[in-house]
Symmetry: C2
Subunit: 408 residues, 2 copies
């Protein structure tokens, strides 16, 4: 297996740091628009299999050229979702397997954005499913943590725990704090605003996909691992588009544990127009208010060593157990920032995202996972993935997942 | 009486519109840095006594020169508090009586800003009391609505209603809303942030003046005139510095009815550093975050005709009544935006500020009020002021005030 990772940011770097501990690949090229970033990573990991390259991820032909030049068999897209389509198309054109951790972007419904979906997350990719099948190639989409591990959990619950699923409710929460700041998000405020302003999408078997107002259906979810109760709200997320395609769940939701403080901040920014990307004139200078908000906060990429706490990703499954009794189970994975910083030099949120595509690559390398067309993580057997994730090194990745039955 | 009003903004314009209905003066010069603004006002009121002029309010000599050129006897300062000292000094130098509606600015205590006062509001002005006395001239400071009418109420309560005052609690609240906006403050957000970030000041007889954290001692105060309950918090304000000098109150406070929504917005802006006036670099451009916040909101000066509701200023006095019984009374004045817009073309908040110095000028013109040195409104007999305010035109200003006894 000869891998190309496009993007040497937080997630791409963590993926490299995780992969170099494994022996399932011969070559790993890390490419970025700025060639200094992958070079620094190559110097850091000092693994002769790893090489740096430069690429313009917005050009499918540049991606295809790089794939061909290095004899790449598998491409992992680790850049901003705006670049999904050129990398996806470049991989298809050059005959490589493609993996990403987000999906092609959505566009709100022009008339009823808070009731009906417009162009949905991943629609552009699924539209090309036939081309990938015809080429006998696989595009494995949404194989980060959320989407990704959450989708693997959903498939596991369907295959091994439930005879009937009422709801697959992805629930993401954390208790990360950043020392020395009144308010310091552990992820990009720009992206969080974007995610939270997009109309949240929900799936129901009888109704199909539909959208709601932002911050809908607030709920306090009790997270394991010492995180505790966090206020969660509906947010647009890939799982809601993926899970209904390969599971029989009657309802699929994604709720993000932003916490009431963060939700309050986002609502206030929206109320004041400070979430806007349209430039305003400020005493003769043109700026986008959202950029100003980001500039006033610490850069999340640089605060990993000041961060403390855990982040939890998982799926809350409700329905009927295989024993025919009502069942409510949360399947989850917790990452502790102290541990990921110490072990990998990556903060918890990006590390937890990056470990999953590396495991998927290993399962593809060993032939445990195979397939053609555009497929989500639910399309594959979940058990070998979860076993490999949890098994101690050197067999596995040594990162256990958990399962918690809740009162029904 | 020959009056100079410095500043043709909202309050200065309203003062001119109110004054031209009265006959106690011979000449009224309105001056502004931008000569087009007073000229527009002169054209609007079409009163031969009113004249426009240009002035740089930051220069005491320019103010003195203008006073001399027009034979001015009384100067009303209607600009930003940053210009208090040059106008105050210019009036003294030129031998005119001086009136303002705010006082010289404060500077927080360098070590314990939320416990001890530093340079207090008005300190710079009171330091020159001797010079004004020696010149036989009067500087009547803080004669807007708050400070101003609130101080007149305090003096009235002491002279006519109470034998002993436990607390003079200024309480300011409104139910003004602006049609068509999610969030549109009826006053400058820049100034409101400034006021609310300054450490609130409190006076207690045994302790003197001291300061607290911002937003301290939240309290829901029930305002009359249909406004109802509004969340109020301590804010630094001139009354707390004025009232203890001329009354025997044991405690003096100022609480601003910002409402819980507005308080939440201000706290969020502070948490995110968006209240800062220090410039930040936003993609190569330097801007002050507070200016960006102001630029995102509608300009309060332009929304008077979209505003609706009432604003209430007053003093809640508690103590022992003249009958020796415990007493709790709110003395107040309500301005209705529909009415002030229709009658005067000025929005309620600026109109309510502007009417009081005009009444004071009339009482000085008729000799009912006299004095020398730097004096607050409490230094004068309150009754003729309140009578003139309430009496129907043409005798008075036709704007009744109210009094409400509360449970003790």
């Amino acid at each position: 297996m000869r891998i190309l990772i496009v993007g040497a940011g937080g997630v791409g770097s963590a993926a490299v740091r995780i992969a170099v501990r494994r022996d399932f690949f011969e070559k790993l090229v890390v490419a970025d628009y700025d060639p200094a970033r992958p070079q620094a990573l190559v110097d850091e990991v000092a693994d002769p299999r790893v090489e740096a390259a430069q690429v313009d991820a917005s050009r499918a032909d540049a991606v295809a050229g790089l794939i061909e030049a290095h004899g790449i068999t598998h491409v992992l897209n680790a850049v901003d979702p705006r670049f999904v389509m050129p990398i996806f198309d470049g991989a298809l054109a050059a005959g490589a397997t493609y993996l990403d951790m987000a999906m092609s972007l959505s566009t709100p419904h022009p008339e009823q954005p808070h009731a009906l979906p417009g162009v949905k997350l991943g629609d552009e990719q699924f539209a090309k499913d036939g081309q990938w099948k015809d080429a006998g190639r696989l595009a494995l989409v949404g194989i980060g943590v959320e989407p990704g591990l959450s989708d693997v959990f959903a498939r596991y619950a369907e295959d091994h725990l439930f005879s009937e699923i009422d709801e697959l409710g992805v629930r993401d929460g954390a208790n990360l704090v950043v020392a020395g700041y009144d308010f310091a998000p552990s992820f990009s405020i720009w992206t969080t605003i974007e995610e939270c302003l997009n109309p949240p999408v929900i799936y129901e078997k009888d109704r199909g996909w539909y959208t709601t107002e932002p911050f809908s259906e607030p709920e306090v979810f009790d997270f394991p691992g010492g995180i505790g109760p966090v206020e969660c709200v509906n947010v647009e997320h890939e799982e809601v588009l993926l899970m209904p395609r390969w599971t029989k769940a009657k309802r699929v939701t994604f709720k993000y544990g932003l916490g009431d403080e963060f939700i309050g901040v986002l609502k206030t920014l929206h109320k004041l127009g400070l979430d806007s990307t349209a430039k305003v004139n400020v005493k003769g200078v043109e700026v986008s208010p959202r950029d100003v908000v980001a500039a006033c906060l610490p850069d999340p990429a640089t605060i990993g060593d000041k961060m403390n706490g855990k982040t939890c990703a998982g799926v809350w499954v409700t329905g009927t157990g295989i024993d025919g009794q009502p069942r409510s189970t949360y399947l989850y994975h917790v990452a502790d920032n102290d541990e990921t910083m110490r072990e990998y030099g990556s903060q918890a949120v990006v590390w937890q995202t990056a470990i999953n595509p590396v495991i998927a690559l290993e399962l593809l390398a060993t032939g445990v996972w195979t397939g053609t067309g555009v497929l989500g993580p639910e399309a594959f057997d979940a058990k070998p993935f979860l076993d490999l994730l949890a098994a101690p090194a050197p067999t596995g990745y040594g990162s256990p997942w958990g399962m918690e039955d809740r009162a029904v």
